[in-house]
């Protein structure tokens, strides 16, 4: 194929409720378009693994340093809520996988339904997380309104860690556990919110009939992003809620 002729390749729609997909002009074939995007997205997901990897390295380092702090800190978290959220995310990963499958098989209504259920899972997860955070904030274990405050040089206190009930009084550097807990779950939660936004974006495209057996690339990529969110939580749950 000559690169001089710029007629675009069009993937036909499999039915009247769908739209044809025009391959971007800088790609010769739909296969090339799909593989290029997919390779780029896997590279992005690799950088995500390394982003969280740095946080996990910090966790393991300080867990070695102050093991009793992490055990006592972990007991302040409710493993039942963490376990419930684990199940919610696993279920939402299943609905997302089923959604991608619906796109691959040109089932528009099923794609919309499974995407909607996945967003519902994301919402339930964040609501549970909100109440967990609120309880921690109320007990002075991580005061969100003070989260950017450093040491008060006059008193030597951390404004975001007041530990009202003194639950961490018996272990050294009790604030370390909660700093790591909030950083890791916070960045994870940000991914949940971004992922839910992307899935809603997919739903708009799906409603217009953009995704079908001939073209489901964006659904596939957003699905991978959502599974990564699940993947990270699979490790966060035992490390934070059931501190070994």
């Amino acid at each position: 194929m000559s690169h001089d002729d710029h007629h675009s390749v069009v993937i036909p729609a499999p039915g009247p409720e769908f739209k044809p997909h025009t391959v971007a002009h800088h790609f010769d074939t739909p296969v090339q378009e799909f593989q290029s995007a997919k390779l780029g997205f896997w590279l992005f997901l690799a950088t995500e693994i390394l982003l969280f990897g740095g946080l996990f390295a910090a966790y393991f380092y300080f867990h070695e340093q102050y093991p009793e702090t992490f055990v006592v800190g972990g007991k302040q978290l409710d493993w039942r809520l963490g376990g419930l959220n684990t199940c919610v995310l696993l279920l939402s990963s299943w609905t997302m996988a089923m959604g991608v499958r619906a796109a691959q098989t040109s089932q528009k209504k099923k794609l919309l339904m499974y995407c909607g259920l996945t967003v519902l899972g994301a919402a339930i997860f964040m609501v549970i997380k909100f109440f967990e955070y609120k309880a921690k904030s109320d007990h002075g274990l991580f005061v969100f309104s003070e989260m950017l405050g450093g040491y008060d040089t006059a008193t030597g206190q951390l404004p975001w860690f007041t530990d009202i009930h003194g639950v961490m009084a018996g272990v050294p550097h009790g604030h370390m556990f909660f700093a790591i807990y909030v950083t890791m779950t916070g960045i994870h939660g940000l991914h949940v919110i971004i992922g839910a936004g992307l899935i809603i974006w997919i739903m708009f495209g799906a409603a217009k009939g953009r995704f079908h057996a001939g073209y489901y690339l964006p659904v596939d990529l957003v699905g991978l992003y959502w599974h990564l969110v699940d993947l990270i939580w699979i490790f966060l749950f035992p490390l934070l809620y059931l501190v070994p």
Partner: protein
């Protein structure tokens, strides 16, 4: 074009190439396995196996992660280059962990850190003042 071997179905050469469609049964089986392993994770955490608790917890989490990666993320059916791209991140991750934990294991620790009585806020000392009285 040499993409013909990637093509299936009604779309012929216009098909996108990698589109293994997993069965719903496979996804549901993976979900049940993941939920079951979550129960196991909580169950084993109730027992004290000493240092083995961390290894057991991370072992179960790794099995769960493998299920998500292979089946939900379709890596089992993906192209070799995509497999290498994603799985290589775990290679670099292991380098990060190995050198970080090797540093921790071989460092002469300041044992005073473990004997500081309490982190109760009112008794904290600002880190900058620790070395200031020569």
């Amino acid at each position: 074009m040499s993409d013909a071997h990637d093509s299936h179905g009604d779309f012929g050469d216009l098909q996108m190439g990698t589109h293994h469609v997993s069965s719903a049964l496979q996804f549901t089986s993976v979900l049940i396995a993941l939920l079951f392993l979550t129960i196991i994770t909580v169950a084993v955490a109730q027992f004290d196996f000493g240092g083995a608790n961390m290894l057991i917890a991370m072992g179960i989490a790794s099995v769960k992660a493998a299920l998500v990666i292979l089946f939900f993320m379709h890596v089992k059916y993906d192209t070799a280059i995509n497999k290498i791209m994603f799985l290589s991140s775990f290679l670099f991750l292991s380098l990060l962990f190995i050198f970080t934990l090797a540093d921790r294991a071989t460092r002469q620790m300041d044992h005073r850190a473990h004997t500081i009585k309490t982190p109760v806020a009112s008794e904290w000392v600002h880190p900058n003042t620790l070395n200031s009285d020569h």
